[in-house]
Amino acid sequence: MTIETKDSKVVLEAVQSAVTRYGASQDELIPILNDVNREIGYLPGEALDELSRLLKVPKSQLFSVASFYRMLSTKPRGKHVLQFCESAPCHVAGGREVWLAVKEVLKIEENETTPDGKWTLITTSCLGVCGVGPVMMIDDDVIGNVDPAQVPDILAKYQ
């Protein structure tokens, strides 16, 4: 895999700035983890070490929280994360075909990252925009009424 692993300085800076933003308390753990995850793309072991030191919470406990939530990742992710809605309303509206198209274009399966480190493909629970299903979310953009034929064009917009 050619995914660049972030150097320690970047990781520590991201942790520091999140802790400064929210305060060094376990109550703020979810916002802190969300921010670090967004900044780095995932939660590297180093980040958890540093958080453990700053928040005075055992690393095991931090890992148990980090691995519980679907949107936090303890493994490296690609530059863009494509979340595909796997819920019934989207499934019924033709989601299955779009899912197959996405996998074909990216040439990866669920929970995998493309070799160039650009894309990670995961599924998500209902995004609540069932009126415009099938729906997928790329980073923070919700994209509705997706047609299998549009998939290459949609993905091409992300550099």
């Binding site: 703020e28 916002p31 929280v65 519980f68 309303p89 609540g128 009424n145």
Partner: protein, 593 residues
Amino acid sequence: MAIFRSHVLVCVDPECLKKGAHDIMDALQDELVTKGLIDEIQVLETSRIGGCDNGPEIMVYPEGVHYVGISPDDVPYLVEEHFLKGRTAEKFVLKEKTFIDEELSAPTSKEVRIVLKNCGIIDPGNIEEYLAEGGYEGLGKVLTSYTPEETIDIVLRSGLGGRGGAGFPTGKKWQFCRATQEWPKYMICNADEGDPGAFMNRRVLEGDPHAVIEGMIIGAYAVGSSQGYIYCRAEYPLAIKTLNIAIDQAHALGLLGKDILGSGFDFDLEVRMGAGAFVCGEETALMASIEGKRGEPRPRPPFPAVKGLFGKPSNVNNVETYANVPQIIINGPEWYASYGTEKSKGTKTFALAGDVQHTGLIEVPFGLTLREIIFDVGGGIKDGKAFKAIQTGGPMGGCLPAEFLDLPVDYQELAKAGSIMGSGGLVVMDEDTCMVDIARFFMDFVQDESCGKCTPCRVGTRRILEILEGICEGRGKESDLDTLEMLCEQIQEDSLCGLGQGAPNPVVSTLKHFRSEYEAHIKEKRCPAKVCKPLIRYDIVDGPCTGCTVCARNCPVNCITGERRQTHVIDPDVCVRCGICMQVCNFNAIVIN
């Protein structure tokens, strides 16, 4: 407040965003600056204003001109024509209004909109529009005229029940929390709407955030809390953004913070984002998540009103519950209680989905029958097919067959029929639905979302799923039904939280009402709805088949043989049951047996 002569609303619905709505906004801003009009004309984001079929759509007020199909290059022309020369740029005007909001259309005659009153009507990013609709009048009334006890009494008399699904009287909940002599107390809004197909809370948060905030402030005053949290799922970034803007605006006007409206009452509010866990919609799991822990439920009692967030008394209500409160205060509890049935008062929002003509959000008074909801409000079943079942209450709800169509919908009647109100998902299923397959689908969801803390839910749902998969694939045994019933009972009895206790509902209700379908799968190895692929076979009928060879040429596994102009034959051992032959046949010669 600045006064603009014109407002340009740009639709930032996902569909329009995809077609470059933000580029249009940027181009508009730039052009207005260039032409020196930026102080006269305001550019705003809005939710869906049209069908989004023709690219970014914009609406210009006060004229109400609806433009479509604009690219950033067209913006200078548009600005010059409309805002400098003062004439409509005809070539971009939407010719035919074909727009239907799939999520929220104009109310039908049987609907009553209290919670959805402002959705799609006011700009959620502007507190002044909410104020113009009577917003924060309820709060003003409470702070100036009522004691906390009187406020609770009003909510109690209105009959408002918890809209998260359980229907517990909101006034009672507030009373319990007020009675606990410990401070600080926390006011929590559960905005972790995770049921697939349910999006009424999202629409309220995105369309009328101040109604929720106002409801929370009133509740906080009633229970004696000075700090609140809105726990919103991370899957709703727009709702979180809208809420944060709304909170800032409320702060600026002194509606949040210290000494609200000069009353001496302090209350502050913070949005907490989840990180993707369905179980966090359960109140104890939700509080654990705010505390920075794994979102795992804990046993109750102690109830949150006694020991909740950070071990302090807390009050947790759903988005819709809070959004009702300001209306109850303004119009009085008797007005609210005039809607609904004897035991369930007021209205409920539902997300109508599945095989029904008009899907989307509706708000109806309790007591309407399922038939009225499906046929009068929802327009009936799609494609003229027959109604088979309706699932109420989301993934942990039950499926009700046609004999329940005249059931008045309220908390008590649904429970009696073996289903639940839940958060308000209604999935309508037509005659082509296999109920075993549906039960399997929901069990797949539940076992995926089980947090894993207690064994009946973690392991039990997995076992149920395996049995259902076996039945759908033709490996069902006669003893399976007894095993299923036993498992369902144990999971219901022994699970810690609502997720586990409700998880077997789809299986229990389908076993009860559609038992013959399970039996057909098991004993006759037949799927009556012709859905379960391993149990069906495609055949070519002798008469209509003209031997045109289209099916054989399109079959991906080459299992169709036959001479030209002779009836063809499908080899069931090779056939993968993809159904392509049936789609391409021009003579309806292929049937499922």
